[in-house]
């Protein structure tokens, strides 16, 4: 009992027996996994294995798809996020998300960043400006946009847009950041910047990142989870997964034999 309690403290998420169906098709099968605080957890696996589905379950975004059905528990700091008492809006301010394709709002850069704080009731102009500046600084974008905060966000490059989305996510002061292939639409330089950014965010945030790039997973993550056809095949520290995987399927995948 006491061991279990100790474990709980460092695990931000404790996923227990999670199953998920899209209508009749099961996309996640009995997932058990802990996500640790202030670590970068990479989620890898071939296309269609359920990576996006899994991280979208962590902030309950999957619920926006009407045919989705889940069983099992996801404990977030000890509370089951599927519990009736958990407000999904509150969960999502604690658990931010960055999507594959940069998706800023068709508003100004400033309005994008302060969207979250504003809808959660902050009206004070000075405070909003402070939040915008610190979020943009944390997202390593401040210097590039500080002179054009009122320009439309769609005037930024793809990489800048993605960092804007990260800043927008940071502005609600989350605890966890979920990222679904955040660099797959970006060129190598923009990708490098985002990876650097993830490194620097790690000390304040818990990050879970889906990626198709083994190198990226190896470079930035502390732990790696390998998914295959809806199952969690192997979950270990990144160095073990990439140097000494226990499962044959993991080895086949990371050595590029399939996927």
């Amino acid at each position: 009992m006491s061991i279990a309690n100790e474990k709980k403290k460092e695990a931000v998420y404790d996923v227990r027996g999670l199953n998920l169906w899209y209508g009749e098709d099961q996309a996640l099968k009995d997932i058990n996994m802990e996500i640790e605080e202030n670590k970068v957890t990479a989620i890898i696996g071939p296309s269609g294995c359920g990576k996006s589905t899994f991280i979208k379950t962590l902030n309950r975004m999957v619920e926006n798809i009407p045919i989705v059905r889940t069983t099992g528990e996801i404990l977030y700091h000890g509370d089951n996020i599927f519990d009736k008492s958990v407000k999904v809006e509150e969960l999502r301010t604690k658990v931010g998300m960055v999507f594959q394709k940069p998706n800023p709002f068709p508003k100004s850069i400033f309005e994008n960043v302060v969207y979250g704080p504003k809808i959660h009731g902050i009206k004070d102009k000075g405070l909003l400006m402070e939040i915008a500046e610190s979020s943009l600084r944390s997202a390593a974008l401040w210097d590039e946009v500080k002179d054009r905060l009122n320009d439309n966000a769609y005037g930024l490059s793809g990489g800048q847009q993605q960092r804007l989305c990260i800043a927008r996510c940071l502005a609600v002061q989350p605890d966890v950041i979920l990222m679904d292939e955040p660099t797959s639409a970006l060129d190598p330089i923009a990708t490098f910047k985002i990876e650097e950014l993830i490194e620097s965010l790690k000390k304040d945030y818990t990050i879970s990142i889906v990626t198709h790039s083994m190198q990226q997973a190896a470079r930035i993550s502390d732990k790696t989870a390998f998914f295959l056809m809806g199952e969690l095949i192997e979950y270990d520290s990144t160095s073990v997964i990439f140097s000494n995987p226990k499962d044959k399927k993991t080895e086949d995948y990371i050595t590029g034999r399939f996927g």
Binding site: G48, R92, M97, F99, K101, P106, G116, Y154, V172, A185
Partner: protein
Amino acid sequence: MFKDGNLIGKDSRMLKKNAGAKLPKFNINKKRMKNRIFLSRFSRHLFSLSAVFALVVLGILLFDIISESLGWLNVKFLTNNLSIFPEKAGIRGALIGSVYLMLIVIPVTLVLGVSTAIYLEEYSNKGKIANFIKVNITNLASVPSVIFGLLGLSVFGRILNLGSSILAGGLTMSLLVLPIVVVASQEAIRAVPGFLRDASYALGANKWTTVRKVVLPVALPGILTGSILAISRAIGETAPLVVLGIPTLILKIPTGIMDDFTALPIQIYYWTLDTVLTPEYANLAAATIVVLLGVLFIMNSAAIIIRNKFQKKF
């Protein structure tokens, strides 16, 4: 088969399975190619011909009307009250009546139409009931306007005892164009990319906030374009007003929404009825038509300008 720009699991597995399969050999039929090229040229000419035909008819119509209105259409014609003497007659009453009509139609249809569209697209659970409502709204859009006139006459005119007042006319016209506004707004709302909604939800926004702050602002140009087109239909509609019994011989200018009134299309209608006795009425009708066409032209241009200006590329 593509989702998020990636091949989804099953399909990618299928692709791999089929990767070794050979394409069957076949020859391209040269003779049929020639026929097709001929057919393609032929249909191009056919289609441009029908476009020209429509333009010519429109041109003749416009020419006819404008030439009849020449010498009759001037500032006085717009500001004079109605008169039995053609030289003194003006359309001030009808213009003011039409403006009043719009003052009712625009807010009523925008509020009701956009709310209905929001409900159907964002809130209804896409079940049988919502589907039933949707099908009916689409059907309503094709109901003849006379029927709406009868509905207006019995509900607003008789039951609510509004008679042939501006309010009765405005509400009837609102019913007539409401389905168009709903359908146009639904389409505009549906065209808002899902990834913008996702971005909002992922920041902890609830549905109403997302609709208000993200969906509506992005959909607004589309909603406005559709609504302007719908409202310009209301300006030109005659039948429902005739059924409501809107008189033409209003010598008093309306001052409130409970007053009787006349509107531009009604004015045209009655003047054309009397051209046998007073041939000049034909010129007055033509001049009024030009005014009406001018108003419609301005509204349609506004719709196009709004659409082009706010068309967003994501």
